[in-house]
């Protein structure tokens, strides 16, 4: 049984078992690196991707939930050579240490900035609450998101 889904703007027909968590489909069948395995329980946000504009934990979202919907990952926001607006802000603020959480951070923040062009500091912090960073890079992550919140994504 196959699943049809749009990923980063391109249609895909996926062959993985529909019960497979999306994370393993992204990393396996699609060979995408952005979403990371952190906990497998939706507790850390390292696997965050954007589904129909909303951040979801790909580690607890089965492939079967995706039929016909539109999925985006950090790979769809830019490349290492041509980073997108939010990625560029993370780069400018050097908002990473080990960086394992960062793709999930960017995915979650991107969804916020698409919904609310100019979120307040309080809104940013509350929105980012589900995602964990262990290196303590939060202050820089906030600075990067704040910059885009002030100037807008476009």
């Amino acid at each position: 049984m196959s699943t049809r889904v749009t990923i980063n703007g391109k249609p895909h027909t996926l062959q993985s078992d529909p019960s497979t968590p999306l994370l393993y489909v992204l990393r396996g069948e699609l060979a995408l690196n952005g979403a990371k395995f952190g906990c497998g329980m939706g507790q850390c946000g390292a696997c965050t991707v954007i589904l129909d504009g909303k951040p979801v934990f790909s580690c607890v979202t089965p492939l079967s939930a995706l039929g016909g919907r539109s999925l985006r990952t950090v790979e769809g926001l830019g490349t290492p050579d041509k980073p997108g607006r939010l990625q560029a802000a993370f780069l400018k603020h050097q908002a990473a240490q080990c960086g394992y959480c960062i793709a999930g951070m960017i995915a979650r923040a991107q969804a916020l900035l698409e919904q609310h062009r100019h979120p307040s500091e309080e809104q940013i912090r509350a929105w980012m609450e589900p995602n964990l960073c262990r290196c303590g890079t939060h202050y820089r992550i906030l600075a990067a998101i704040r910059e885009v919140a002030q100037e807008g994504l476009a």
Partner: protein, 745 residues
Amino acid sequence: MSGADLSRRAFVKGGALVLGFSLLPGAAFAEFNGMGMPPVADALLPGDLNRIPWLDAWIRIAADGKVTVCSGKVELGTGVRTALIQVALEQLELEPGAIRFIGGDTLLSPNEGFTAGSHTMADSGTALLHASAQVAALLRAGAAARWKLAPDTVLLRAGRALAPDGRSMHYGEAVAGIDLHRMAARTSPLRDPARYRLIGKSLQRLDIPAKLAGGAAYVQDLRLPGMLHARVVRPPRPGARLATAGLDAALAATGQLPGVRRVVRDGSYLAVLADGEWQAVVAMNALAAGVRWEGGAVLPAPDAIHATLQTLPSQDIEVLRRGSVPAAGTEGARSVTARYTKQYVLHGSIGPSCAVGQLVDDELTIWTHTQGVYPLRAALAELTGMPFEKVRCIHTEGSGCYGQNGADDVAADAALLARAMPGRPVRVQLMREQENMWEPFAPAMVTQVRAGLDAEGRIGYWDYELWSGSHNERPGNAGKLVPAWLLAKPIAPSPSQPMPMPEGGGDRNALPLYEIPNARVVNHFLPVTPLRTSAMRSLGAHINITAIEGTIDRLAALAGADPVRFRLDHLRGQPRARAVIERAAAMFGWKAGARARPLRGRGFGFGQYKNMMAYVAVAVEIAYDPDRRQLSILRVACAADCGQVVNPDGARNQLEGAIIQSASWTLNEALRYGPQGIASIDWASYPILRFSGVPERIEVALIDRPGQAFLGVAEAAQGPMAAALANALAEATGVRRHALPLLAV
């Protein structure tokens, strides 16, 4: 374990470690065990050149002029790769992008032991500074000889040697005929620090762009042709053994699951190998559900752990005795006593540990995020019974580790599983609960302090004791790796050893830097404690600096002195210590005698990491809500002196991270465990700081010292930040808490 096994292990261990170092003196052997380093070749050579003195171990120049720089230190997410390259670019007169860098590969890079203890810039950075400067001099000399000019007339610019008349040649031509396999000299023709182009500049980190956009950045992202995915099944608690009843049926049933290529069992060691990663997870879950475990260690109750630590057999090491301290009961009126405690803490890497292994034609390659490729290689050679030189460990980044997490253990899994499927690359990643339950925790600790003022109101004496298990259970022998315990022929860990001063382990930063005429410090090292423990950022400095700085605040109050003034008055001979304290106090707007508003608190903390690395002072202001037991960090002012700053933004990033990470440890973190085992199996049962707890404002200032030595900085703020928080909470509430975490119920 039988005596025969023990003697075999001792032989293998000796063989593994001594190979190539057959005339190792006793002291060097101990060093090798502690930090995994080869012995000192010439103590007067700068940085790690003293152990790896060959220039071509660090710098290689190809015939086409391309420059490769090698370091034994690895990128753990702190940005050291970028900083090390900056150092080499500076001295070699190269532009950014012109260096190929190899960090941590047993085939290609020098053996600098572990990347740990904020040593990278001091050890490897210093070695590269000098090696690069010496190679630059050889390049000038080589070009000058070809042109028949005096060497001091030749300039190096952007990869070319230039003659005064405009002729030029690239570095490959300049080095032709010069053998870089030569001993480094003790002194180097360093560039003038006042004219540095790149050292001191905030170059952007080289690793970040890929990490932001899904580039292959981690060992987790490695995809080799034909690679299988593996998962392990670990016992529910240490010491538990696999029951044989029903085992064969469970193994057979797992082998029938979709995609499963192999089910591995060796004693109590269990793993599955499958084509797909999720197939491996499904098979792991099925196997775990189908097997039974027997026995295992009974853990103590968390509320009894500190009393237990103080009764365990100890090696009592007096690390300081100066003058004399009063006998118990004769301390006098103006004195303080306190007992501080700390619970076990998780490293808590966001990404569970991962490794990839492949056995091809009797040669085993392991891609690993270990902190020490050479020590790991020795342990894996012992584990697999393979010759040393047939095992290659290649460092590949993982999630931040902050010390010894599951990285080495999962590398052992990769070695065992690659051997089970010769030819096929095998990627194995731990699950969240496996990482949490089996990582070596930061040790629980107890410290006791007695200190008092003299007639002039200065600190007259200081008496300090601490109790701690091991902060260094790194490999070491193969028995330091969890998988080795589970095999049918298990390998036990070699005995735990205290880490000697001046670095120290539990006693790291136990010696106050303050000028005190009478002092005694005793480290009660506990070789065996109930839980497996090892290194986590700053080791004992986290609680020791908290205890020292809390006691200093209380002594200042007894003396009627402002705590910042009191600190400065006890650091009269140490201008660099005074400078960071004065700077942090000025940034914060610290006012002597000012009283915080109700339920607000100001706190100060200071330390020089290991009393020999970076100086850090931190001032914080907090608000405390007693009804909700909630602490908000309003602002943090931090000043640091890490000598010559190589990459200022990188250093600030590390200090900011340390401030936030330490706030999380200090306020909230304690491993949950009980007689049945480890209960902190996920982020719900081990909460760490989230965005809502991040300080509203963090300011970090660096006091640059051009031309001075690089001082390690990444772990230098953990202690001062913890101390500042404890002191601020004491001011806000009027009650001083001595148990970490501070907000524990």
